[in-house]
Symmetry: C2
Subunit: 242 residues, 2 copies
Amino acid sequence: MRAGDDLAGLIAPHVRDGDIVVIAQKVVSKAEGQLRALADVEPSAEAIALANQHDKDPRLVQVVLDESAEVIRASHGVLICETRHGFVCANAGVDVSNSGDQGVAVLLPVDPDASARRIRAAIAAPAGAASPVPDASPVRVGVVVSDSFGRPWRLGVVDVAIGAAGIRVLDDWRGRTDSHGRELHATEVALADQLASAADLARSKDSREPIVVIRGAEQYVSAADGPGAAALRRPREIDLFR
Amino acid sequence: MRAGDDLAGLIAPHVRDGDIVVIAQKVVSKAEGQLRALADVEPSAEAIALANQHDKDPRLVQVVLDESAEVIRASHGVLICETRHGFVCANAGVDVSNSGDQGVAVLLPVDPDASARRIRAAIAAPAGAASPVPDASPVRVGVVVSDSFGRPWRLGVVDVAIGAAGIRVLDDWRGRTDSHGRELHATEVALADQLASAADLARSKDSREPIVVIRGAEQYVSAADGPGAAALRRPREIDLFR
């Protein structure tokens, strides 16, 4: 995958109406050219100091700082950052593995929800289809852009949604009643994150399978693009852990 | 589901070798009699004070404290606790909704990994099978006991594994190489949590469907019971958020 590659065009032949397409962030970022050559990075004094403390490449730390709204924890060689989108994750989502070039950092997409919306729209109306088949209805899929995030308190990463379009992101059971007729309180289910996690089970980290199609989950596909993964960001004022 | 009910006996007719059975914690707890009638609870001064501060039932707070090794945060009407097993979650996993009786608290199983191992063994060798079919090989399934946990930084709950037997809980890619031959560092995947999340997508919170069978994921089923969900607990000394 390289900058300018037609990701939606690659996916479109493999999906049907009602599918959910889960795409690893890294290929979205590469298709969008969200890369920085480390050779071009001039680390600041802050980046050099942090890099020395945590045994990291100062140029990579500079890229992480550039992608961060805030460094939330710096310890054990790990920087936990809030990205400019408002996601909290290690290294602000910046990655160098799998980049195809040792000295290139892969950044998160600028707006992963917009990426998901664009891919969704392009699958519904493929770019090459200048004269669409008459009466052909558009293929309506859900799109999730996923990334692997660590968690406090639990070991191991799980895939979560950092971008989404055309799916129910949060299932809100608050105010509804359970099977005994009692109100279900504080029950909002992060459907988009669970879809991302389910998709990750279908591939292997070293197998170059960045795209997974979930079939049979039409109940989570929505007509509208919807609020996207931005709806999963916990507002700072109700977050007990920063 | 009531105390003493044969959960494995209910599941066994519906599974095949290689399946993964994901069971909601609440039915495991009920089958094990992990219930406390609030009428029998005498709240301590600490429970009464916390309950007043956070607008909760002091008896329920007492049950939560009894189940907790530590209260990590108390705010906004929510108690985030480390359970005696070492899991960090709201209200130490104590729940009153869906209990079938307004005044009864449902606790987590005493040892959810042991619960998973028992259910797995009983599915392999059903209790009623006094004279097993000669040459019949045991049905080897994986078992996950799941619960819905909230997360810092992200809205919505996701299902995670609090007990597991016969599955690969963590997939450890550390020291292995990626598709470009570079070492994958810090990549451990919490497979058991992703299996729990995937299963939750197949049911509806109000539908009384506590058990989900995942078929076609034999690659995650192991011959041995394995380390269980205990392996997912992040050791305190490498946890930046408590």
